[in-house]
């Protein structure tokens, strides 16, 4: 089944909210982390906040992909289900490669 433009537009709106939430959390952690880095260079807090902020930043598009798979599955739009799962599989290859090289 091919999803109508209006349904896609509604989905686009909801995916937009994922981006806003991810960016807000990430930008807050990075700003506080950067300030802490300048004020308390010896503390572990800045490292934690900076790495956490960057991790949330990277997790945002990943979350968008996961949310889209669920939504497209619900809509039974198989074109999107297949392409989105393919993208997620590629990102998983990267994640696993990165985690095993640390």
């Amino acid at each position: 089944m091919t999803t109508s433009t209006d349904t896609l537009l509604g989905l686009e709106h909801r995916l937009g909210r994922v981006f806003v939430a991810g960016l807000t959390i990430s930008a807050s952690a990075l700003s506080i982390g950067l300030a802490a880095y300048l004020l308390l260079p010896d503390s572990r807090l800045p490292t934690l906040l900076l790495n956490g902020g960057l991790a949330v930043l990277m997790a945002t598009p990943l979350l968008r992909v996961v949310v889209s798979i669920v939504e497209y599955f619900r809509l039974r739009d198989w074109f999107f289900v297949i392409t989105t799962i393919a993208v997620l599989a590629e990102l998983m290859v990267t994640m696993i490669y990165a985690l095993t090289r640390r």
Partner: protein, 262 residues
Amino acid sequence: MCAGVLAGGLGALLGIGGGVFLVPFLNSIVGVPIKIAIATSLMTVIATSSAVSAGTAGRNLINLRLGMLLEVASAAGGVAAGVAFQHLTERLLFMGFAAVTALIAVLMLTRLDRRNILDAAVDPGTLGGRYFDEESQRPVVYRVKRLPVAVTASVAAGVISGSLGIGGGILKVPMLNAWCGVPMRAAAATSALMIGVTALASVPIQYAHGFIQPPLGAAAVLGVLVGSRAGLRFAGRARSRSVKLLMAVVLMLVSTVYFFKI
């Protein structure tokens, strides 16, 4: 931080991420090693992508169907580049920068007045789209042409994104516009959505290899976020012709700088 703001503004405006400006700035002016500049830039590409996509969502400019299809191709390129990144030499990266930026600038200049807009009654097909254009105040319809070309170019864009840290939109926007019939603004919005996932296919590997310094990464990301807000506000009003001209001039400059570094 200032570089981040400037790069973010221009990047959001052009839908290509700020990398094409940020990498040369961090590398040539601030003096950061090229690989760290590239990885930092790629991190900001994710931020630009999320910020622009949040802003353009609901205006129907993003072509989700085409975007997801090409994302499969560009993420594959991104994974390959991420894995190969630590083995690439600086000289090779400089050459890549000079060549890619010059190529795109020429492509942009030869297509300055191309519009790619059909009559509003035309059926856009499965992958085409329609949206309301703020510049001309009327609905715009387009069809997607030469899909295999778009898929191939997306793989290349993914490889370039992951190895040069420039988003990959730098290749996708002119390609979608010039070869595949997608209007500039829809191409930019679709590309902006794609570059985040493309960058995410290589950034975690560079992060694991230590090419990202968290404080520098944070400053760049915050700067780009501030800049992309300003750029997005301007993007709805700017004329496509001047957007292309600005893009081409900046690209020629970057190309010249890196040509002399080889």
